[in-house]
Structures are given as C-alpha cells and as structure tokens.
C-alpha cells in the first residue's frame, strides 16, 4: 500500500510516523465513544481518510507493524483478545480492561461472559448479580438469550457453580457457589434489592 501523508510529503520516515499517530487517534476516538476497535476497522478508517490506498491484504504485515508501533509509543493503548479470537484495541484513557473484557467476551463467548461476571462479583465485593443487568448495556442480551444461556449452564459441569436466588419482590439474582453460599447470596440479594432502599 502506498502511504500518503495529508500534506503530500512522503519521505519514508514520515510515512511511518504519521499513520502510527493516526492509528492512535483512531483507537482513542473509538474508545471515547465507549467502543473497542478491530484491526479491520482500523484499516477501514485509514482508507476512509485517504491515508492508505487499497491493497491492504498484501501489506497486512506492514499495518501490523504500524499498529505495534502505535501501541509501543502510546502507553494508554491496549491490545486484548479472547482465546483464539482476533484482537481488539482500546485506550485505557477511556476504557478499563474490565469493560473491554466484557465487550470482547460478549462476542466470543457470551455464556462464559455471564459466568465470569457472576463469579467475579461473587468473589470480590462480594455480591450476587441481578439478572436484569444482562439486559442492559453493555450486555444488551434479550430475555430469551439469557434464559437460553442459563439453561445451557445448568447442563454443563463447568458452570455448576452458577446458581440463582430470588428477592422478596421477585427479582432474580445470580451468584457463584465458589464464593457465596445460598444463604449469604440470598441475604445479599435481598439487601441490594429491598434492604438498601428501605434503609435510605
């Protein structure tokens, strides 16, 4: 691919420098909007801005190098990928790794995502996770999708720790028995759903 800088100067050193800076900008802009960006999308953006011209396939490695350079030179840029999946990029100035992991796992393995969230919440706070949270951003799963995944979890041994408890006003909470027992989870669910509002 031929790399063109905006003002037409195309000495080799500047060719490499300019796109690297632009890659950083592209990643940051996407992060500011709360989203990750894939390699493919970076290429699209560069193409849109006329900063590269077609033939992207042939120069894949070159683009790879440029991206690596951008990551090296900019401490806030992060590359993250789910196992066996393509990587995504984001800026830690605007997105945390926890949030990025949600977005990545959402594409890669949403069932595992639910389990991971439930397990983490049960371990570190500790608290059970309201079912409803998975219907909201950034998860945006439908009711049917969540039910399907929970049904799947119930069948698979590796998710045997994921259990449910219901508050006195009928809201379902998920927890992991790796960190919480049923009693504790139930008490905490009641506290979150009813207790805190009754003790304002």
């Amino acid at each position: 691919m031929i790399l063109q800088s905006a003002d037409g100067i195309d000495g080799k050193a500047e060719e490499r420098e300019f796109p690297a800076r632009t890659i950083a900008q592209i990643i940051r802009e996407k992060s500011q909007a709360g989203e990750l960006i894939s390699r493919h999308e970076i290429v699209d953006r560069l193409l849109e801005n006329g900063l590269i011209k077609g033939e992207a396939e042939r120069d894949k490695n070159e683009l790879e190098t440029l991206i690596e350079k951008a990551l090296e030179e900019n401490g806030d840029l992060v590359k993250l990928h789910a196992e066996g999946e393509e990587p995504f990029f984001f800026s830690s100035q605007f997105i945390t790794e926890s949030y990025a992991r949600i977005l990545i796992q959402k594409r890669a393995n949403p069932t595992r995502l639910i389990a991971e969230i439930v397990r983490e919440n049960s371990a570190i706070y500790p608290r059970p996770t309201p079912f409803d949270i998975f219907r909201q951003p950034p998860f945006n799963f439908t009711l049917e999708e969540i039910h399907a995944r929970l049904a799947q979890m119930a069948k698979e041994g590796e998710y045997a720790d994921i259990q449910q408890t219901t508050s006195s006003i009928g809201n379902v909470f998920l927890y992991s028995t790796l960190s919480l027992n049923a009693d504790y989870a139930s008490m905490l669910a009641e506290w979150i759903d009813v207790g805190q509002a009754s003790n304002p």
């Binding site: 945390t96 926890s98 949030y99 500790p126 009693d183 905490l188």
Partner: protein, 701 residues
C-alpha cells in the same frame, strides 16, 4: 470579628415573647463550636435549663449554619435545626433536624450565621430578614395555610429570591411529627411543632451580601476542583450502578445510575445521562437519580432533572413529572424530593396493583409529596409508615378506633394500594383529627404509650427497624456491623449519621475498602463485608469515633453528611482514595483559621461532647450505658436462626456488643461503667465549665 473568612459574623437572636431582636458576634462567642449543631448545643447548654419542654416558650430553636455555608465548597447548603425534641420519648432531649435547599446560603448572604428563636409570640407571626433589616410580622392571614401558599404569599412581598422556611398545618397544630420546609422540598424533620408552639409560621430571608474567602482565590479554586474531582454520586457512592467504559467495578446497589440510554425522559427535549466519566466535572449532576433508584427503571421517563441544595453538584432531589396524577387526583403533575421524603406516600402501602416498581408506586409518591410537603408532616425516617403497616395488618387500628372512625376510612382503597387513601389519612394527621390521626402524629414512643403497646414488641420486630426512645435505627448493623450499632446508641432521635455508611456502601470491592480503611483507622480488620461480620476490635471503635465526630463536624461546618466524609473516590489512579482532610483543608482556607485534620476533629469532639453533656444533664443521670445507649433486641436475633459471624446474617452477639460499647467508651475517653464522659475528657476538649456544672449535679463518673 477577627478578620476570619467564612463566618458572616452575627447570630440573630429573636425573643418572640418580647419582640426583642438583637445579634451576637458569632466568632467571638461561638467560633469554638463552629456553628450548626455546635451553635445549637452551646445555646441549649448555656440558656435552656433541664426540665424545659419542647413547646414551652423557654425552649429555644436554633437554625445554625457553618462557615462554609454559602461558599462554593461542594455540598454546603445545610442548616442544622437544634431544639428540645418533641418526639423524643419518654423525656424530651436535645436533637437536630437538617434542612437543605437555599436557606443556609441565603442566611449567610443576609449577614447571619444562625438564628436563635425563643419565647412565644402572642399571635401568629413570621420573621422577615432582609439583610440587616429584621422584623416580626403579622402572620394571621397565613395561619391555617399550607407551606406552599405561605411561601408564595411571602415571596409576593419580598420578591422571588426570598427563601422561605415555613411550617404547615401540622406544625401549627402542634403535631410532634411535623417539619419546617424551604425551597419546595427541603425539610428539617421533627421541629415543625416547636415553631408552631411559638406561633412562628415562617422565617423568610433575603440576602444580597457575601461570604468572604480568607485564602487566596486561586488556591481556593484549586481546592474546590480537587474536592469536585473526588466526588462520587449521592451518598458518595463511587462505583456506577452498571458496567461503564471508564469503570473497573459496578454495583447494582449504587446510586450512580447514569448510563447511555438512561434519559431524563421528561426534560423537553429528553437528555441522555450517558457514561459519566468521573473526570468530567461537567457531568456530576447526571450521576444520581434518586427517584429512579427508589421507584425503578420506569421512573426515567418521568424524570425532568435533578435538584437540591445551593452549591451542591450532586442533585439528590429529583424533579418528576407524572401527567396521570393531575387527572386522577387533581394535583400538580410536577413534584420533587429525595429519599424518605420522596417515598413518603408509597411507604404506607404493603403493595400496589402493578407491583413494587410500577406507576402506581410513583403516583403514591406524588400524592404523598403533594400532601406531606404542604401540610408539613414528618415521617421519622419512615417509622410512621412502618408503624402504620404493622398497626393495620395486626388489627390494632381496628381495635383501638371506635367503629365510626374506623368506618370513615376507605380501608379497601388502602389494601388495594390506591394512593387516593392518602388524602384521607394525611389530612387528619395534620389536623390531629380522630384517634388515628392524633396517635400517628405523636411519634412512636408516645403512640406506644397512648395505646398501651409494649415497646418490647417494637424492639423485637425485624421489620419495624425501631431502635429506642421513639425512633428508628439509621444505618446500624445492616450497614456496618458493630460500628453501626454503636453510632445508633448515641443520639436522641434516629442517628442521622452517614459518615460510616457512605463509605461501606461506596461499592468498592471489599479488599479495596479494607485497604482504604487501614490507611485511616489502622487495620484491614476495620471493615467487614456486609453480612459477613467478624468480632469487635479496636479499629472498629476508632471508626465509630471518627464517624461520630465527622457527623457533628459536617453539621457544624455546613457540609452535607449525606455526601461526606470523602474516604473513597471514583478515581482509579488514586487507588480509589479520597481525602480524609477535605474538611480541614476547606475550613482552613475559607476561614483563614488553619487547622489540621486532627485539630478540627478535636473541635468536632468538643461539639459531640456538648451533645453528650446535654443529654446527661437533661436526663438527670450519668447511667448512659444502662439508660441511654440501649440496643433493641432484634439486632441479636436472626429470623432463620443462623449463628453470629456466619455469612448471611447481620445479627450481633450480645457479649461482642458489650465489648463494642466498652471499646468505644475507651476511645472516647468516657467512663467504662456508665458511658459518661470523664471530667478530664471534658477539660481536654475545652469544656471545663461543662464538667464543673455536671460535677455539681453529680453527673460526672
């Protein structure tokens, strides 16, 4: 005035019996107790002897602000209203209500740090404060009117910028469960009837003066920005309610509700609250939506905007617009309030036809606010509503009321969860009409007495949340184990202390909380995860002492104890650390009186000790441990019989709590056996005269 900034310089004194109006020098006389509750306790100690009752002309009611009120320090719009408390049972003692809104700032701009009102006018009056011009005016045309009409009529004469604190019919009728309110929705609970007993309908303030900042203005600006940068959402929750791009953590119980897709739906046009990155200080006001927090997700479509006190960016009040109530109940479709004030109406009902998070619940809130905030009725932190539920469903109301009176209520509406029922009930409470109306207005203690109901029954019940002396608990063991229990023993009404729970509800993982706690109180063992309590230790006692002191400090400086202290912050780069010296830094720079964190806490201790001394003196006993610092039975039981220190129970162990009180008294320098402060402790806090007086009364250990 020794050239200090912050203070306006004068405390306004009004004797309604004689009509005399005079002022005192706030700095000269009250600097050592700052203002707010400090001012209140000092005046009561110096001028109101034991034996005076709340409705006596000799009782005084003190509206106190602090040196930070009216400045740009975040969250300073608070007025502490201190007096002998009508619902304190069996014997009235000192307590404080807190009023937000515009009153504190306006009073400062008018040139006053506080108002002390004593005596009784011979006819209804209102107090007009227009900068230096203070007049007692005839209120006979306002008497019998609600808070809203009173405010509008006074504003017609003083101008739209007048801030009016008024009582409603409840206060006029000497209903103990009554409030004084300003700025639409900001009430000080429990004091309405004291004003009513003095025939004082309202206090209106117009202030065009200034509050001077002693320090360099650039430094002040930097300090304010630092404070703003550490703020979370309401109650200093520093973790958002759902995963946000900028956040490592989330907490479904957090009041930080802002999120893409959650809109102020009734704004014209609607406004998306968005992902409120904590570094963006221009979006602090979008973080909190208490109407949605309490009423559920559907509330967003009714949300117009946030509202609240002068200077506060948090906006913990929510303005909601609910068109259906205009047609159904003939009331204004716009209402606003926060927390218990917001849910006043819905809290009476066991259930609603469309469930706990439906529209009817919201309508009940609207009807409740419409009535209670005009009639000026107090809920005692929801205790009135909890009592009502128990009294009705246990059949007590039916037993105690005569047949005619019982029939005069539409109980079918009540059971169905029809908000229209509130029109029947609340008006009668304000008017002291009928047995039920009268009894509910007395406060729980006097209600138990009047209906010969055993207090022990209230103290065993897990749902009533009753603590002692006619009032409920307020953030006790369910929030903070032993620390919470200790704090709830200390006051003469519900604790009104949020220092501890703002921290433990911050939303941070328990390991982070422990780390922050260790930095301030000395050990990772200071805090436990909720419902996973460990035995008492000295660090928990230190935290309880800190919480006690900081509550008084905030109430005396004018900082909102529902927002501070600032132990935690939402900033990952600070390890989620806040700044525990925020109060002392603000105080020092605003006033020019440089005090370190420890020094200012020393002043707070003096103020807290005054409260203790007043309580001891007016109870006429030093046996505080046995007679005052009592703990209800329910905290020692778990309804499913789980043992203490197991995960999933919040109940406490008797001996452990004994130890907790012992350690607390030790930290405070109080006598172990009685719980009374020692002469030495009083002296160290600059209260030698207090010690002397108590000594003469035989009330020193």
């Amino acid at each position: 005035m020794a050239g200090y900034g912050g203070w306006a310089g004068k405390v306004l004194r009004v004797d309604l019996s004689t009509g005399r109006i005079w002022t005192e020098d706030s700095v000269e006389k009250y600097k050592n107790v700052l203002g707010g509750t400090g001012l209140g306790y000092q005046v009561l100690w110096d001028e109101v002897p034991p034996g005076v009752k709340p409705f006596d002309p000799a009782n005084k009611i003190i509206f106190g602000t602090g040196p930070l009120a009216g400045t740009g320090a975040p969250c300073n719009g608070r007025t502490a209203v201190t007096t002998l408390w009508p619902t304190c049972w069996p014997k009235p003692l000192v307590a404080t209500g807190h009023m937000g809104g515009q009153f504190a700032g306006e009073l400062k701009y008018a040139g006053y740090d506080g108002i002390v009102i004593e005596g009784r006018a011979d006819r209804p009056v209102w107090l007009s404060i227009v900068n230096g011009k203070v007049e007692i005016k005839d209120a006979r045309h306002l008497w019998g009117q609600g808070i809203r009409r009173t405010t509008v009529e006074i504003a017609q004469g003083l101008g739209p910028e007048a801030v009016v604190a008024a009582i409603g019919q409840a206060g006029e009728n000497l209903v103990p469960m009554s409030v004084v309110m300003n700025s639409v929705s900001h009430s000080a609970g429990g004091v309405g009837a004291v004003l009513g007993s003095k025939n004082l309908k309202a206090i209106a303030v117009c202030g065009t003066g200034s509050v001077r900042i002693a320090g360099n203005k650039e430094e002040w600006e930097k300090l304010i920005k630092l404070h703003l940068s550490l703020l979370g959402a309401n109650n200093q929750h520093v973790v958002p309610n759902s995963p946000q791009p900028w956040a490592e953590y989330f907490n479904a119980g957090s009041r930080w509700l802002a999120s893409r897709g959650r809109k102020w739906g009734a704004a014209s046009p609607s406004i998306d609250t968005g992902a409120c990155d904590p570094h963006d200080l221009s979006r602090i006001a979008y973080r909190t939506n208490n109407a949605a927090f309490f009423n559920g997700e559907i509330t967003w479509q009714y949300t117009v905007r946030g509202n609240g006190c002068t200077s506060c960016p948090i906006r913990c009040h929510t303005v909601i617009k609910v068109p259906s109530v205009a047609m159904k109940y003939g009331i204004k479709e716009v209402g606003q309030n926060t927390c218990v004030g917001l849910v006043f109406g819905r809290s009476f009902f066991k259930s609603f036809p469309d469930g706990p998070r439906g529209l009817t619940g919201i309508e009940a809130c609207m009807v409740g606010m419409h009535l209670a905030d005009d009639l000026g009725i107090w809920c005692n932190y929801g205790q009135m509503q909890r009592d009502f539920l128990k009294l009705y469903y246990s059949g007590t109301i039916k037993n105690k009321l005569g047949e005619n009176e019982f029939k005069s209520y539409s109980w079918d509406k009540y059971e169905k969860g029809d908000p229209a029922f509130l029109f029947e009930l609340l008006r009668r409470i304000a008017a002291k009409e009928g047995e039920l109306g009268t009894v509910l207005g007395l406060g729980t203690g006097y209600m138990l007495e009047k209906w010969s109901l055993p207090e022990a029954e209230w103290q065993k019940d897990h749902d009533l949340l009753y603590w002692k002396m006619g009032h409920p608990k307020h953030h006790a063991n369910e929030d903070a184990g032993q620390c919470g229990v200790i704090l709830n023993t200390q006051y003469n009404r519900d604790a009104q202390n949020h220092s501890h729970c703002n921290f433990v509800r911050s939303g941070l993982p328990i390991e982070v909380q422990k780390r922050l706690a260790a930095e301030i109180w000395g050990s990772l063992e200071t805090v436990d995860a909720i419902g996973s309590y460990t035995p008492m230790n000295i660090y928990k006692a230190k935290m309880a002492k800190w919480a006690s002191l900081r509550k008084e400090l905030h109430d005396s400086l004018s900082l909102c104890n529902w927002m501070g202290p600032w132990v935690a912050s939402p900033l990952k780069e600070r390890g989620y650390r806040g700044d525990d010296s925020m109060e002392s830094m603000l105080y020092s720079l605003a006033t020019g009186d440089k005090k370190s964190r420890e020094e200012l806490d020393g002043v707070a201790e003096r103020i807290f000790l005054l409260h203790r001394a007043l309580t001891i003196r007016d109870m006429g006993t030093k046996e505080m441990k046995a007679q005052h610092d009592t703990i209800p039975e329910w905290i020692f039981h778990d309804s499913s019989g789980k043992p203490v220190y197991t995960k999933g129970t919040i109940h406490m162990d008797r001996e452990d709590i004994q130890l907790a009180m012992k350690m607390y008294y030790q930290e405070m320098g109080w006598d172990q056996a009685t719980g009374a402060p020692t002469a030495n402790t009083y002296k160290k806090a600059g209260l030698a005269k207090v010690a002397e007086d108590l000594g003469k009364r035989g009330l020193l250990p």
